[in-house]
Assembly symmetry: D2
Amino acid sequence: MPMTNLQDRITTSFQAQGLMTTLGAELALVSEGEVHIALPFSERLSQQHGYLHAGAITSILDSACGYAALTKASPGCDVVTAEFKINLLRPALGDRFLAIGRVQNAGRSLTVCTGEVQAFSGTGGTPKVVALMQATIATIRP
Amino acid sequence: MPMTNLQDRITTSFQAQGLMTTLGAELALVSEGEVHIALPFSERLSQQHGYLHAGAITSILDSACGYAALTKASPGCDVVTAEFKINLLRPALGDRFLAIGRVQNAGRSLTVCTGEVQAFSGTGGTPKVVALMQATIATIRP
Amino acid sequence: MPMTNLQDRITTSFQAQGLMTTLGAELALVSEGEVHIALPFSERLSQQHGYLHAGAITSILDSACGYAALTKASPGCDVVTAEFKINLLRPALGDRFLAIGRVQNAGRSLTVCTGEVQAFSGTGGTPKVVALMQATIATIRP
Amino acid sequence: MPMTNLQDRITTSFQAQGLMTTLGAELALVSEGEVHIALPFSERLSQQHGYLHAGAITSILDSACGYAALTKASPGCDVVTAEFKINLLRPALGDRFLAIGRVQNAGRSLTVCTGEVQAFSGTGGTPKVVALMQATIATIRP
Protein backbone atom coordinates (compact mmCIF):
# COMPACT_ATOMS: atom_id res chain seq x y z
CA MET A 1 0.00 0.00 0.00
CA PRO A 2 1.42 3.46 -0.83
CA MET A 3 2.47 5.36 2.30
CA THR A 4 -0.16 8.12 1.83
CA ASN A 5 -2.96 5.58 1.79
CA LEU A 6 -1.42 3.98 4.84
CA GLN A 7 -1.30 7.29 6.68
CA ASP A 8 -4.93 7.91 5.80
CA ARG A 9 -5.89 4.42 6.94
CA ILE A 10 -4.04 4.78 10.25
CA THR A 11 -5.42 8.28 10.84
CA THR A 12 -8.96 7.00 10.28
CA SER A 13 -8.39 4.02 12.57
CA PHE A 14 -6.81 6.22 15.26
CA GLN A 15 -9.78 8.60 15.20
CA ALA A 16 -12.10 5.61 15.65
CA GLN A 17 -10.37 4.70 18.92
CA GLY A 18 -12.61 6.25 21.56
CA LEU A 19 -9.91 5.80 24.19
CA MET A 20 -7.37 7.93 22.32
CA THR A 21 -9.85 10.83 22.23
CA THR A 22 -10.75 10.31 25.89
CA LEU A 23 -7.06 10.44 26.85
CA GLY A 24 -6.38 13.43 24.57
CA ALA A 25 -3.76 11.56 22.50
CA GLU A 26 -2.75 12.61 19.00
CA LEU A 27 -1.12 10.79 16.13
CA ALA A 28 2.22 12.57 15.68
CA LEU A 29 4.07 10.55 13.03
CA VAL A 30 3.38 7.65 10.67
CA SER A 31 6.35 6.30 8.74
CA GLU A 32 7.23 2.85 7.51
CA GLY A 33 7.89 0.74 10.57
CA GLU A 34 7.58 3.59 13.07
CA VAL A 35 4.63 5.45 14.58
CA HIS A 36 4.58 8.23 17.21
CA ILE A 37 1.67 9.19 19.47
CA ALA A 38 1.73 12.36 21.59
CA LEU A 39 -0.12 12.90 24.87
CA PRO A 40 -0.23 16.11 26.92
CA PHE A 41 -0.29 15.60 30.68
CA SER A 42 -3.61 16.08 32.44
CA GLU A 43 -4.71 15.44 36.01
CA ARG A 44 -7.48 13.37 34.45
CA LEU A 45 -4.79 10.80 33.58
CA SER A 46 -2.90 10.73 36.87
CA GLN A 47 -2.09 7.98 39.31
CA GLN A 48 -2.33 8.58 43.06
CA HIS A 49 0.86 10.68 43.33
CA GLY A 50 -0.06 12.96 40.46
CA TYR A 51 2.21 11.43 37.81
CA LEU A 52 0.92 10.06 34.52
CA HIS A 53 -0.77 6.69 35.23
CA ALA A 54 1.00 3.59 33.88
CA GLY A 55 -2.27 2.75 32.15
CA ALA A 56 -2.15 5.95 30.08
CA ILE A 57 1.52 5.36 29.23
CA THR A 58 0.71 1.82 28.19
CA SER A 59 -2.34 2.83 26.15
CA ILE A 60 -0.44 5.19 23.85
CA LEU A 61 2.57 2.90 23.57
CA ASP A 62 0.45 -0.15 22.73
CA SER A 63 -1.32 1.88 20.02
CA ALA A 64 2.01 3.17 18.65
CA CYS A 65 3.39 -0.38 18.42
CA GLY A 66 0.19 -1.71 16.85
CA TYR A 67 0.12 0.97 14.16
CA ALA A 68 3.85 0.55 13.50
CA ALA A 69 3.12 -3.14 12.83
CA LEU A 70 0.25 -2.14 10.54
CA THR A 71 2.65 -0.13 8.34
CA LYS A 72 4.42 -3.43 7.55
CA ALA A 73 1.34 -5.63 7.10
CA SER A 74 0.21 -6.82 3.66
CA PRO A 75 -2.54 -4.74 2.03
CA GLY A 76 -5.97 -5.76 3.28
CA CYS A 77 -4.62 -7.25 6.52
CA ASP A 78 -5.46 -5.95 9.95
CA VAL A 79 -3.45 -6.28 13.15
CA VAL A 80 -4.25 -6.99 16.80
CA THR A 81 -1.98 -6.93 19.84
CA ALA A 82 -1.37 -10.48 21.08
CA GLU A 83 0.68 -9.44 24.10
CA PHE A 84 3.23 -6.96 25.37
CA LYS A 85 5.58 -6.37 28.26
CA ILE A 86 6.39 -2.93 29.61
CA ASN A 87 9.00 -1.69 32.08
CA LEU A 88 8.23 1.54 33.90
CA LEU A 89 11.66 3.08 34.44
CA ARG A 90 10.88 6.12 36.60
CA PRO A 91 7.94 8.28 37.72
CA ALA A 92 6.19 9.60 34.60
CA LEU A 93 6.63 13.27 35.37
CA GLY A 94 6.29 15.75 32.50
CA ASP A 95 4.14 18.23 30.59
CA ARG A 96 3.84 16.03 27.54
CA PHE A 97 4.71 12.51 26.48
CA LEU A 98 5.66 10.87 23.22
CA ALA A 99 5.16 7.15 22.56
CA ILE A 100 7.37 5.68 19.84
CA GLY A 101 6.62 2.23 18.42
CA ARG A 102 9.11 0.55 16.05
CA VAL A 103 8.93 -2.71 14.12
CA GLN A 104 11.86 -4.99 14.89
CA ASN A 105 10.78 -7.99 12.88
CA ALA A 106 7.79 -8.46 10.62
CA GLY A 107 6.96 -12.13 10.16
CA ARG A 108 4.12 -13.60 8.16
CA SER A 109 1.74 -13.93 11.08
CA LEU A 110 3.49 -12.16 13.97
CA THR A 111 5.29 -8.80 14.12
CA VAL A 112 7.58 -7.92 17.02
CA CYS A 113 7.85 -4.24 17.99
CA THR A 114 9.78 -2.35 20.62
CA GLY A 115 8.79 1.03 21.92
CA GLU A 116 9.48 3.73 24.43
CA VAL A 117 7.68 6.64 26.03
CA GLN A 118 9.61 9.89 26.40
CA ALA A 119 8.64 12.57 28.93
CA PHE A 120 9.18 16.27 28.13
CA SER A 121 9.17 19.01 30.76
CA GLY A 122 9.12 22.78 30.22
CA THR A 123 10.66 24.20 27.07
CA GLY A 124 13.46 22.36 25.33
CA GLY A 125 15.74 20.02 27.22
CA THR A 126 16.36 16.35 26.66
CA PRO A 127 13.38 14.08 27.17
CA LYS A 128 13.56 11.24 29.70
CA VAL A 129 12.61 7.73 28.73
CA VAL A 130 9.98 6.61 31.26
CA ALA A 131 8.93 3.27 29.77
CA LEU A 132 10.17 0.50 27.47
CA MET A 133 7.90 -2.00 25.71
CA GLN A 134 8.39 -5.23 23.74
CA ALA A 135 5.21 -6.30 21.94
CA THR A 136 3.89 -9.09 19.74
CA ILE A 137 1.30 -8.07 17.16
CA ALA A 138 -0.73 -10.68 15.26
CA THR A 139 -1.64 -10.15 11.61
CA ILE A 140 -5.26 -10.88 10.76
CA ARG A 141 -5.74 -11.99 7.17
CA PRO A 142 -9.01 -11.19 5.45
CA MET B 1 -2.04 -2.93 59.27
CA PRO B 2 -5.61 -4.05 60.13
CA MET B 3 -7.64 -4.83 57.02
CA THR B 4 -10.15 -1.98 57.57
CA ASN B 5 -7.33 0.57 57.61
CA LEU B 6 -5.93 -1.05 54.51
CA GLN B 7 -9.28 -0.82 52.72
CA ASP B 8 -9.54 2.84 53.69
CA ARG B 9 -6.01 3.50 52.49
CA ILE B 10 -6.59 1.76 49.15
CA THR B 11 -9.96 3.47 48.66
CA THR B 12 -8.36 6.86 49.26
CA SER B 13 -5.49 6.08 46.91
CA PHE B 14 -7.85 4.76 44.23
CA GLN B 15 -9.96 7.92 44.39
CA ALA B 16 -6.78 9.97 43.92
CA GLN B 17 -6.09 8.21 40.59
CA GLY B 18 -7.47 10.65 38.02
CA LEU B 19 -7.32 7.97 35.33
CA MET B 20 -9.64 5.59 37.20
CA THR B 21 -12.30 8.34 37.40
CA THR B 22 -11.76 9.25 33.73
CA LEU B 23 -12.25 5.61 32.73
CA GLY B 24 -15.25 5.16 35.05
CA ALA B 25 -13.59 2.34 37.02
CA GLU B 26 -14.66 1.35 40.53
CA LEU B 27 -12.93 -0.50 43.33
CA ALA B 28 -15.02 -3.65 43.76
CA LEU B 29 -13.12 -5.74 46.34
CA VAL B 30 -10.13 -5.36 48.65
CA SER B 31 -9.02 -8.47 50.49
CA GLU B 32 -5.65 -9.71 51.65
CA GLY B 33 -3.65 -10.46 48.54
CA GLU B 34 -6.51 -9.86 46.10
CA VAL B 35 -8.14 -6.73 44.68
CA HIS B 36 -10.94 -6.37 42.11
CA ILE B 37 -11.68 -3.34 39.92
CA ALA B 38 -14.87 -3.07 37.85
CA LEU B 39 -15.32 -1.13 34.62
CA PRO B 40 -18.53 -0.68 32.63
CA PHE B 41 -18.09 -0.60 28.87
CA SER B 42 -18.29 2.79 27.18
CA GLU B 43 -17.61 3.89 23.61
CA ARG B 44 -15.28 6.45 25.17
CA LEU B 45 -12.93 3.51 25.95
CA SER B 46 -13.09 1.69 22.63
CA GLN B 47 -10.50 0.68 20.10
CA GLN B 48 -11.14 1.04 16.37
CA HIS B 49 -13.52 -1.94 16.11
CA GLY B 50 -15.65 -0.87 19.03
CA TYR B 51 -14.28 -3.32 21.62
CA LEU B 52 -12.73 -2.20 24.90
CA HIS B 53 -9.24 -0.84 24.15
CA ALA B 54 -6.28 -2.90 25.41
CA GLY B 55 -5.11 0.25 27.19
CA ALA B 56 -8.28 0.36 29.31
CA ILE B 57 -8.01 -3.36 30.08
CA THR B 58 -4.39 -2.89 31.07
CA SER B 59 -5.08 0.21 33.18
CA ILE B 60 -7.57 -1.52 35.48
CA LEU B 61 -5.55 -4.73 35.69
CA ASP B 62 -2.31 -2.90 36.50
CA SER B 63 -4.13 -1.02 39.28
CA ALA B 64 -5.68 -4.24 40.62
CA CYS B 65 -2.27 -5.95 40.75
CA GLY B 66 -0.62 -2.92 42.35
CA TYR B 67 -3.25 -2.67 45.10
CA ALA B 68 -3.15 -6.43 45.68
CA ALA B 69 0.60 -6.05 46.29
CA LEU B 70 -0.08 -3.15 48.65
CA THR B 71 -2.27 -5.40 50.84
CA LYS B 72 0.86 -7.49 51.53
CA ALA B 73 3.35 -4.62 52.01
CA SER B 74 4.68 -3.67 55.42
CA PRO B 75 2.90 -0.77 57.12
CA GLY B 76 4.24 2.58 55.93
CA CYS B 77 5.51 1.16 52.67
CA ASP B 78 4.24 2.18 49.27
CA VAL B 79 4.32 0.20 46.01
CA VAL B 80 5.05 1.03 42.39
CA THR B 81 4.71 -1.17 39.29
CA ALA B 82 8.17 -2.08 37.97
CA GLU B 83 6.90 -3.97 34.94
CA PHE B 84 4.17 -6.24 33.68
CA LYS B 85 3.31 -8.48 30.76
CA ILE B 86 -0.21 -8.94 29.46
CA ASN B 87 -1.72 -11.38 26.97
CA LEU B 88 -4.91 -10.29 25.23
CA LEU B 89 -6.77 -13.54 24.65
CA ARG B 90 -9.76 -12.45 22.57
CA PRO B 91 -11.68 -9.31 21.54
CA ALA B 92 -12.78 -7.52 24.72
CA LEU B 93 -16.48 -7.59 24.02
CA GLY B 94 -18.86 -7.09 26.94
CA ASP B 95 -21.10 -4.76 28.92
CA ARG B 96 -18.83 -4.72 31.95
CA PHE B 97 -15.38 -5.93 32.90
CA LEU B 98 -13.78 -7.10 36.13
CA ALA B 99 -10.01 -6.94 36.72
CA ILE B 100 -8.70 -9.33 39.38
CA GLY B 101 -5.17 -8.93 40.75
CA ARG B 102 -3.68 -11.60 43.04
CA VAL B 103 -0.38 -11.77 44.91
CA GLN B 104 1.60 -14.90 44.03
CA ASN B 105 4.73 -14.13 46.01
CA ALA B 106 5.50 -11.23 48.32
CA GLY B 107 9.24 -10.74 48.72
CA ARG B 108 11.02 -8.10 50.75
CA SER B 109 11.49 -5.69 47.85
CA LEU B 110 9.52 -7.23 44.97
CA THR B 111 6.02 -8.70 44.86
CA VAL B 112 4.87 -10.84 41.94
CA CYS B 113 1.18 -10.76 41.02
CA THR B 114 -0.92 -12.45 38.40
CA GLY B 115 -4.23 -11.13 37.18
CA GLU B 116 -7.03 -11.52 34.71
CA VAL B 117 -9.79 -9.42 33.20
CA GLN B 118 -13.22 -11.05 32.87
CA ALA B 119 -15.84 -9.79 30.41
CA PHE B 120 -19.57 -10.00 31.27
CA SER B 121 -22.36 -9.70 28.71
CA GLY B 122 -26.08 -9.33 29.30
CA THR B 123 -27.57 -10.76 32.47
CA GLY B 124 -26.00 -13.77 34.11
CA GLY B 125 -23.89 -16.21 32.14
CA THR B 126 -20.29 -17.16 32.62
CA PRO B 127 -17.74 -14.39 32.11
CA LYS B 128 -15.00 -14.80 29.53
CA VAL B 129 -11.39 -14.18 30.44
CA VAL B 130 -10.07 -11.62 27.93
CA ALA B 131 -6.62 -10.90 29.38
CA LEU B 132 -3.93 -12.45 31.60
CA MET B 133 -1.20 -10.45 33.36
CA GLN B 134 1.99 -11.27 35.24
CA ALA B 135 3.39 -8.24 37.08
CA THR B 136 6.33 -7.22 39.26
CA ILE B 137 5.60 -4.60 41.91
CA ALA B 138 8.41 -2.86 43.79
CA THR B 139 8.04 -1.98 47.46
CA ILE B 140 9.12 1.55 48.36
CA ARG B 141 10.33 1.85 51.94
CA PRO B 142 9.88 5.15 53.73
CA MET C 1 -5.66 -37.21 18.16
CA PRO C 2 -6.21 -39.90 20.86
CA MET C 3 -4.25 -39.15 24.03
CA THR C 4 -2.00 -42.26 23.68
CA ASN C 5 -0.86 -41.13 20.24
CA LEU C 6 -0.27 -37.68 21.64
CA GLN C 7 1.84 -39.06 24.49
CA ASP C 8 3.87 -41.07 21.99
CA ARG C 9 4.31 -38.05 19.77
CA ILE C 10 5.41 -35.81 22.65
CA THR C 11 7.73 -38.49 24.05
CA THR C 12 9.39 -38.87 20.64
CA SER C 13 9.72 -35.10 20.23
CA PHE C 14 11.10 -34.69 23.76
CA GLN C 15 13.74 -37.36 23.14
CA ALA C 16 14.76 -35.51 19.98
CA GLN C 17 15.57 -32.39 22.02
CA GLY C 18 19.32 -32.61 22.54
CA LEU C 19 19.16 -29.93 25.24
CA MET C 20 16.77 -31.93 27.44
CA THR C 21 19.21 -34.87 27.43
CA THR C 22 22.15 -32.54 28.08
CA LEU C 23 20.35 -31.05 31.08
CA GLY C 24 19.19 -34.46 32.36
CA ALA C 25 15.49 -33.54 32.14
CA GLU C 26 12.71 -36.11 31.95
CA LEU C 27 9.14 -35.99 30.74
CA ALA C 28 7.08 -36.66 33.88
CA LEU C 29 3.45 -36.20 32.80
CA VAL C 30 1.50 -35.62 29.61
CA SER C 31 -2.21 -34.92 29.98
CA GLU C 32 -4.63 -32.81 28.02
CA GLY C 33 -3.60 -29.20 28.49
CA GLU C 34 -0.87 -29.95 31.06
CA VAL C 35 2.68 -31.29 30.81
CA HIS C 36 5.29 -31.84 33.56
CA ILE C 37 9.08 -32.04 33.12
CA ALA C 38 11.38 -33.14 35.97
CA LEU C 39 15.01 -32.11 36.44
CA PRO C 40 17.39 -33.34 39.15
CA PHE C 41 19.85 -30.73 40.41
CA SER C 42 23.42 -30.99 39.17
CA GLU C 43 26.42 -28.68 39.58
CA ARG C 44 26.65 -28.84 35.79
CA LEU C 45 23.51 -26.66 35.73
CA SER C 46 24.45 -24.12 38.38
CA GLN C 47 24.78 -20.36 38.33
CA GLN C 48 27.65 -18.66 40.15
CA HIS C 49 26.27 -19.18 43.68
CA GLY C 50 25.59 -22.87 43.18
CA TYR C 51 21.81 -22.63 42.66
CA LEU C 52 20.08 -23.93 39.56
CA HIS C 53 20.74 -21.44 36.72
CA ALA C 54 17.74 -19.41 35.50
CA GLY C 55 18.55 -20.75 32.02
CA ALA C 56 17.96 -24.34 33.14
CA ILE C 57 14.72 -23.38 34.92
CA THR C 58 13.56 -21.55 31.81
CA SER C 59 14.53 -24.40 29.46
CA ILE C 60 12.35 -27.00 31.18
CA LEU C 61 9.46 -24.59 31.74
CA ASP C 62 9.48 -23.40 28.11
CA SER C 63 9.40 -27.04 26.97
CA ALA C 64 6.59 -27.88 29.42
CA CYS C 65 4.49 -24.96 28.14
CA GLY C 66 5.20 -25.80 24.50
CA TYR C 67 4.17 -29.44 24.90
CA ALA C 68 1.09 -28.46 26.90
CA ALA C 69 0.08 -26.29 23.92
CA LEU C 70 0.74 -29.22 21.59
CA THR C 71 -1.81 -31.36 23.47
CA LYS C 72 -4.48 -28.84 22.39
CA ALA C 73 -3.32 -28.34 18.79
CA SER C 74 -5.24 -29.79 15.84
CA PRO C 75 -3.90 -33.10 14.51
CA GLY C 76 -1.04 -32.57 12.10
CA CYS C 77 -0.16 -29.16 13.53
CA ASP C 78 3.13 -28.32 15.20
CA VAL C 79 3.86 -25.60 17.74
CA VAL C 80 6.67 -23.13 18.32
CA THR C 81 7.22 -20.72 21.20
CA ALA C 82 6.65 -17.14 20.04
CA GLU C 83 7.61 -15.54 23.34
CA PHE C 84 7.47 -15.93 27.09
CA LYS C 85 8.00 -13.99 30.28
CA ILE C 86 9.35 -15.54 33.45
CA ASN C 87 9.62 -14.26 37.02
CA LEU C 88 12.29 -15.83 39.21
CA LEU C 89 10.78 -15.69 42.68
CA ARG C 90 13.63 -16.92 44.89
CA PRO C 91 16.99 -18.71 44.65
CA ALA C 92 16.43 -22.06 42.92
CA LEU C 93 17.70 -24.24 45.72
CA GLY C 94 16.69 -27.89 45.73
CA ASP C 95 17.54 -31.51 44.94
CA ARG C 96 15.05 -31.76 42.11
CA PHE C 97 12.74 -29.49 40.17
CA LEU C 98 9.40 -29.93 38.45
CA ALA C 99 8.25 -27.67 35.61
CA ILE C 100 4.48 -27.56 35.06
CA GLY C 101 3.03 -26.02 31.90
CA ARG C 102 -0.72 -25.46 31.57
CA VAL C 103 -2.85 -24.20 28.69
CA GLN C 104 -4.96 -21.18 29.66
CA ASN C 105 -6.44 -20.42 26.27
CA ALA C 106 -6.09 -22.27 22.99
CA GLY C 107 -6.89 -20.03 20.04
CA ARG C 108 -6.76 -20.88 16.37
CA SER C 109 -3.24 -19.59 15.82
CA LEU C 110 -1.95 -18.72 19.31
CA THR C 111 -2.11 -20.66 22.58
CA VAL C 112 -1.43 -18.95 25.91
CA CYS C 113 0.09 -21.05 28.70
CA THR C 114 1.10 -20.37 32.25
CA GLY C 115 3.62 -22.40 34.15
CA GLU C 116 5.63 -22.75 37.32
CA VAL C 117 8.76 -24.50 38.50
CA GLN C 118 8.62 -26.19 41.90
CA ALA C 119 11.76 -26.97 43.92
CA PHE C 120 11.91 -30.07 46.14
CA SER C 121 14.48 -30.58 48.91
CA GLY C 122 15.19 -33.76 50.89
CA THR C 123 12.40 -36.27 51.37
CA GLY C 124 8.81 -35.11 51.44
CA GLY C 125 7.88 -31.61 52.46
CA THR C 126 6.07 -29.00 50.45
CA PRO C 127 7.79 -27.82 47.28
CA LYS C 128 8.57 -24.14 46.82
CA VAL C 129 7.56 -22.33 43.67
CA VAL C 130 10.74 -20.73 42.29
CA ALA C 131 9.49 -19.40 38.95
CA LEU C 132 6.31 -18.32 37.16
CA MET C 133 5.93 -18.14 33.37
CA GLN C 134 3.36 -16.74 30.95
CA ALA C 135 3.98 -17.90 27.37
CA THR C 136 2.57 -17.48 23.86
CA ILE C 137 2.85 -20.53 21.60
CA ALA C 138 2.20 -20.27 17.86
CA THR C 139 0.48 -23.09 15.99
CA ILE C 140 2.14 -24.08 12.74
CA ARG C 141 -0.30 -25.51 10.21
CA PRO C 142 0.94 -28.07 7.71
CA MET D 1 35.17 -0.26 40.41
CA PRO D 2 37.87 0.09 37.69
CA MET D 3 36.90 -1.74 34.50
CA THR D 4 39.79 -4.27 34.77
CA ASN D 5 38.64 -5.38 38.20
CA LEU D 6 35.12 -5.62 36.86
CA GLN D 7 36.25 -7.80 33.96
CA ASP D 8 38.12 -10.06 36.38
CA ARG D 9 35.10 -10.26 38.64
CA ILE D 10 32.73 -11.10 35.79
CA THR D 11 35.16 -13.64 34.29
CA THR D 12 35.45 -15.38 37.66
CA SER D 13 31.68 -15.38 38.15
CA PHE D 14 31.09 -16.64 34.60
CA GLN D 15 33.51 -19.52 35.12
CA ALA D 16 31.63 -20.45 38.29
CA GLN D 17 28.41 -20.91 36.30
CA GLY D 18 28.29 -24.65 35.72
CA LEU D 19 25.59 -24.21 33.07
CA MET D 20 27.75 -21.97 30.86
CA THR D 21 30.46 -24.66 30.77
CA THR D 22 27.86 -27.36 30.12
CA LEU D 23 26.47 -25.37 27.18
CA GLY D 24 29.95 -24.50 25.87
CA ALA D 25 29.37 -20.74 26.17
CA GLU D 26 32.20 -18.21 26.37
CA LEU D 27 32.42 -14.66 27.64
CA ALA D 28 33.22 -12.63 24.52
CA LEU D 29 33.12 -8.98 25.67
CA VAL D 30 32.77 -7.06 28.92
CA SER D 31 32.41 -3.30 28.62
CA GLU D 32 30.55 -0.72 30.68
CA GLY D 33 26.87 -1.43 30.23
CA GLU D 34 27.32 -4.16 27.61
CA VAL D 35 28.33 -7.83 27.78
CA HIS D 36 28.58 -10.41 24.97
CA ILE D 37 28.45 -14.21 25.34
CA ALA D 38 29.28 -16.54 22.43
CA LEU D 39 27.92 -20.05 21.91
CA PRO D 40 28.86 -22.49 19.12
CA PHE D 41 26.03 -24.65 17.88
CA SER D 42 25.99 -28.27 19.04
CA GLU D 43 23.42 -31.03 18.62
CA ARG D 44 23.62 -31.34 22.39
CA LEU D 45 21.73 -28.02 22.57
CA SER D 46 19.06 -28.67 19.96
CA GLN D 47 15.29 -28.67 20.05
CA GLN D 48 13.30 -31.35 18.23
CA HIS D 49 13.88 -29.95 14.71
CA GLY D 50 17.63 -29.62 15.15
CA TYR D 51 17.75 -25.83 15.74
CA LEU D 52 19.26 -24.29 18.86
CA HIS D 53 16.78 -24.77 21.74
CA ALA D 54 15.05 -21.64 23.05
CA GLY D 55 16.38 -22.64 26.48
CA ALA D 56 19.98 -22.34 25.30
CA ILE D 57 19.28 -19.00 23.61
CA THR D 58 17.64 -17.75 26.77
CA SER D 59 20.42 -19.02 29.05
CA ILE D 60 23.18 -17.05 27.32
CA LEU D 61 21.04 -13.94 26.86
CA ASP D 62 19.91 -13.92 30.50
CA SER D 63 23.57 -14.20 31.57
CA ALA D 64 24.61 -11.42 29.16
CA CYS D 65 21.91 -9.09 30.54
CA GLY D 66 22.76 -9.96 34.15
CA TYR D 67 26.48 -9.25 33.69
CA ALA D 68 25.73 -6.04 31.75
CA ALA D 69 23.71 -4.91 34.79
CA LEU D 70 26.61 -5.88 37.07
CA THR D 71 28.95 -3.49 35.18
CA LYS D 72 26.70 -0.64 36.37
CA ALA D 73 26.17 -1.81 39.96
CA SER D 74 27.84 -0.10 42.92
CA PRO D 75 31.02 -1.78 44.17
CA GLY D 76 30.28 -4.62 46.54
CA CYS D 77 26.79 -5.15 45.17
CA ASP D 78 25.62 -8.31 43.44
CA VAL D 79 22.80 -8.74 40.93
CA VAL D 80 20.07 -11.30 40.35
CA THR D 81 17.56 -11.58 37.50
CA ALA D 82 14.08 -10.69 38.76
CA GLU D 83 12.33 -11.44 35.46
CA PHE D 84 12.68 -11.25 31.72
CA LYS D 85 10.63 -11.55 28.55
CA ILE D 86 12.01 -12.98 25.32
CA ASN D 87 10.64 -13.05 21.77
CA LEU D 88 11.92 -15.80 19.51
CA LEU D 89 11.85 -14.21 16.06
CA ARG D 90 12.76 -17.12 13.78
CA PRO D 91 14.24 -20.64 13.93
CA ALA D 92 17.66 -20.42 15.60
CA LEU D 93 19.65 -21.83 12.74
CA GLY D 94 23.40 -21.16 12.68
CA ASP D 95 26.93 -22.34 13.38
CA ARG D 96 27.46 -19.94 16.24
CA PHE D 97 25.43 -17.47 18.28
CA LEU D 98 26.21 -14.23 20.05
CA ALA D 99 24.13 -12.94 22.95
CA ILE D 100 24.38 -9.19 23.57
CA GLY D 101 23.03 -7.67 26.79
CA ARG D 102 22.83 -3.87 27.19
CA VAL D 103 21.82 -1.71 30.14
CA GLN D 104 19.00 0.70 29.25
CA ASN D 105 18.44 2.17 32.68
CA ALA D 106 20.31 1.58 35.93
CA GLY D 107 18.19 2.51 38.93
CA ARG D 108 19.12 2.22 42.58
CA SER D 109 17.52 -1.17 43.09
CA LEU D 110 16.46 -2.29 39.60
CA THR D 111 18.34 -2.24 36.30
CA VAL D 112 16.52 -2.69 33.00
CA CYS D 113 18.42 -4.34 30.14
CA THR D 114 17.58 -5.21 26.57
CA GLY D 115 19.34 -7.88 24.59
CA GLU D 116 19.44 -9.83 21.39
CA VAL D 117 20.88 -13.09 20.11
CA GLN D 118 22.50 -13.04 16.68
CA ALA D 119 22.96 -16.20 14.59
CA PHE D 120 25.99 -16.58 12.30
CA SER D 121 26.21 -19.12 9.48
CA GLY D 122 29.26 -20.07 7.43
CA THR D 123 32.00 -17.52 6.92
CA GLY D 124 31.21 -13.84 6.91
CA GLY D 125 27.76 -12.61 6.02
CA THR D 126 25.36 -10.58 8.12
CA PRO D 127 24.10 -12.26 11.28
CA LYS D 128 20.37 -12.71 11.81
CA VAL D 129 18.72 -11.60 15.02
CA VAL D 130 16.87 -14.65 16.36
CA ALA D 131 15.72 -13.36 19.76
CA LEU D 132 14.96 -10.12 21.62
CA MET D 133 14.90 -9.80 25.42
CA GLN D 134 13.78 -7.16 27.92
CA ALA D 135 14.95 -7.96 31.46
CA THR D 136 14.73 -6.59 34.99
CA ILE D 137 17.77 -7.20 37.19
CA ALA D 138 17.64 -6.60 40.94
CA THR D 139 20.64 -5.17 42.78
CA ILE D 140 21.52 -7.00 45.99
CA ARG D 141 23.20 -4.74 48.53
CA PRO D 142 25.66 -6.28 50.98
